[in-house]
Symmetry: C2
Subunit: 500 residues, 2 copies
């Protein structure tokens, strides 16, 4: 029987979680619905909710209950809930309010400086703000601490619990040589995908209809969510029964809305598969890490959504939606176009293979930045040099180089590696799913996505935060996390499309 302290803790976590869902709605509405006149007051609303949540969660009552429950050495679900509550409580209470507020204020100013710097293509405008932000994040890392003593680990741990610079470097070091070699072979083979096909006229209304159908088809419960438009597409698991996604429609580019929707739907189906009805408010109803979250989006976007089995099913639907754009396009041309691989400057537009090199570059630079081994003034030079080495391209300007991403301006140091980790997890999980589900390809060819989704529900979603990402991979695939499956996947595609 659950103890009184346990019930009180869970009740309090649920109430704090409910405030969290309200915060999430404020955020969704801000990005999707709110008009300019309401933005100033929206920051008051969000700040008030954030303060309330922080005050409630860091109260002595919560701390006492966690300590009492730790002494009881509970098992099962309760053990997970208490373990994760401790982890979050410690992270939350270790940071002085003054530092939290300084980071919050600096983020607003730093982001606006970054926007200006990117627009004017002038790193010097952003440099002092990045210095200030790095200084604050070093203070944050010092407050939180880490086993290794490496400040980067304290920051990374917020996004990918249990990982460290060292553990990720070991994986990334294995990925780098075959990936660089593969991309080089493709670039030098002389064969190019007919990507101009994707830049024809794709009417927005037909794109919207198709995106909705695709999301619903692969398993998104539209009865418990919505698909809207926003400048930056995202998924927001607002509350139990309410997981919303967004996309954007570019009439001169097919990929944005279609693959973007598959991606966000992958995130959304993870949120919808978490046991929120039973465990809302606790860690058992939460995603376990950003890397695992990204593995779900990448699996549906790339492993399923760019695969030949999927397109045997989807091709007639897309042809029906865009008869003009596709009238002279063969299935093979289409498949090659959507599986194009080529070095390019912008991460968010990168293909499945080169994407990982974009991450590697950022992972290396941000570790040096936070340690103080790389001066802020030297970032553009370091970026461009490394970019030349990895991609064989000369960076034309900072806007297409080290100024392209919002993350550093927002203090998100340690966030980037989770994207590449997501790609690795996705490939590793998908290989396992193909072993576990007899005839998976045949299912996908027939538009039967339930077996795969059910496999994800059972093996990943239902566990919430019970297992760390790495532990989950080991349990599900019987192998430690590694880039091997990702490399095998990319090699097979390179062979098929480029003959290399």
């Amino acid at each position: 029987m659950a103890s009184e302290a346990y019930e009180q803790l869970v009740r309090e976590l649920r109430e704090i979680g409910t405030f969290g869902t309200v915060s999430a709605l404020l955020g969704w509405d801000e990005q999707v619905m709110l008009q300019p006149g309401g933005t100033e007051f929206r920051s008051d609303q969000s700040a008030l909710m954030a303060r309330l949540i922080h005050e409630r969660f860091t109260s002595e009552d919560v701390g006492d209950r966690i300590a009492k429950l730790e002494a009881q050495a509970l098992g099962g679900d309760a053990a997970v809930i208490v373990r994760e509550a401790r982890r979050e409580y410690d992270r939350a209470t270790k940071l002085p309010t003054s530092l939290v507020e300084a980071i919050s204020k600096t983020t607003v100013l730093s982001q606006s400086a970054w926007i200006e710097a990117r627009k004017k293509n002038d790193f010097a405008i952003f440099a002092p703000w990045l210095s200030r932000m790095l200084d604050l994040k070093r203070q944050e890392a010092a407050c939180i601490g880490s086993k290794s003593g490496n400040p980067y680990d304290a920051l990374l741990d917020a996004y990918e619990p249990g990982e460290s610079a060292e553990s990720l470097t070991a994986i990334f070091d294995k990925m780098k040589p075959p990936l660089v070699a593969l991309i080089k072979r493709i670039a030098e083979c002389g064969k190019q995908a007919p990507i101009e096909i994707l830049e024809r006229h794709y009417p927005a209304a037909a794109q919207q209809k198709l995106a909705r159908e695709a999301a619903e088809m692969i398993g998104y419960d539209v009865n418990a969510g919505r698909l809207d438009v926003s400048v930056h597409p995202f998924c927001c698991g607002i509350a139990p029964g309410d997981t919303r996604i967004t996309t954007r429609y570019d009439e001169a580019f097919f990929n944005d809305a279609f693959f973007g929707t598959l991606h966000e739907t992958g995130h959304a189906m993870y949120e919808q598969g978490l046991p929120k009805m039973q465990h809302f408010g606790t860690a058992l109803a939460e995603a376990t890490s950003l890397g695992i979250h990204e593995s779900q989006s990448r699996m549906w976007e790339n492993l399923v959504g760019r695969g030949r089995a999927f397109w045997r099913f989807a091709m007639p639907k897309v042809r029906a939606a865009f008869p003009d754009a596709l009238k002279d396009v063969s299935d093979d041309q289409w498949m090659f176009a959507i599986n194009d691989v080529r070095p390019s400057f912008i991460r968010v537009e990168a293909d499945e293979a080169t994407y990982n090199l974009h991450i590697l570059l950022r992972f290396e630079l941000e570790q040096a930045m936070i340690k103080g081994d790389l001066n802020v003034a030297d970032i553009p030079g370091a970026w461009d040099e490394r970019f030349k080495a990895y991609f064989g391209l000369e960076v034309r300007d900072a806007a297409n180089g080290c100024l392209q991403d919002v993350h550093w301006s927002a203090g998100l140091i340690g966030y980037f590696p989770t994207y590449a980790l997501g790609n690795m997890y996705a490939s590793q999980f998908f290989e396992q799913a193909q072993k576990d589900i007899p005839g998976l390809d045949e299912h996908l060819e027939r538009g039967e996505f339930k077996p795969l989704l059910q496999w994800l529900r059972t093996n990943i979603h239902q566990h919430g935060r019970r297992y760390r990402g790495r532990e989950l991979a080991q349990r599900v695939t019987g192998q430690p996390i590694s880039p091997d499956a990702l490399i095998r996947h990319l090699e097979a595609k390179a062979k098929h499309y480029y003959g290399v």
Copy 2:
């Protein structure tokens, strides 16, 4: 200089008000965006915010500060803020939590019984719930009390502060004889408006474009709001800089979207005109009563929006939007159609004149209900009998009779009279505006709506809750509130369109 207690009170009211804006967003989202899967949890979110607001506002701290400030006998804005805080504090603290919760729970069940009863056209399904609700509302009235001792007054006061059954009866008694006589003359004159014009095909996309243009044209700041679709159109002043409206598009009926949007825009412009930037959280940033709020919507919908001056400007636009539907329609036919007056069963579909009789009937019945002079079982009979007397129509069934409105099932006793009061205020204000603004009709003919909006801003909006509705009417028009202007307005129209 403001005292410390005053500053503390205002700070606390602002924070409570900020939670109120979050509640408002939850409500808007529920009606406009939320999918069925999210409704159950939404009630948890809303209940939690409501509880938080109630706890904060009824705290001893707030009570002590109000008492301290009353002792200081402040003047100016502070006096209004303290006076209204006292009024709301007393109302909130007089109700025991158990009663608030019982009403809240009964409302949910009672509304669902009402929906079923209306669908099955069976008053008996709803009757026990209405009895229970009336019993709870009598308890509420007993807790709150009133000068007169009439329980109805305690309930009415929530919606129309300062008014009483007696004060409203005096006005309604003056309205009733000329209104009944007018409607009878029209019904008997044999002339009928060509309303079939309004039931032609009006494509939804063109209606939407026109509704948006109309709202913006008359002065709605779309930069600080939105126009969306919902089942029941409404206006929601969510927060400073964020006032949203909704409408609905019926392709087989012109009036719903167009006049509905003018109506909600009238509400929205009141919200946008309240001094929320300076006084947010206090009564000075709040509408003074439902009657005054309704006067703003009715003025734009009926006094402006059904007037000949407005249509000299709007007719070409509407013809351009619906060339097919209007190709054989003359301006005079159109004007007659949108100014149709005829007895009908459903309040929300009623015209400008008969609408007031619908209210009168409900006002009379609900007083008797709450006093206990009318048994619940006898409501259908009483309704039908009175309906025959006022409208000359036999009520066919309860769904088109006493079961048509949601209000009683939701415990909204004392709410109905504010609609008719709004019509009276609207006419009285509009007569005064015509005196105060030289050439108002010529302005409207040219599509210049700013002079009227500015007049409303100056005379009504900027005052927030400084003056009670009745006091405001006296100040603005130099006359006590009365139905005279409304009757003059309706008589003039009857003469023009029906020749009676």
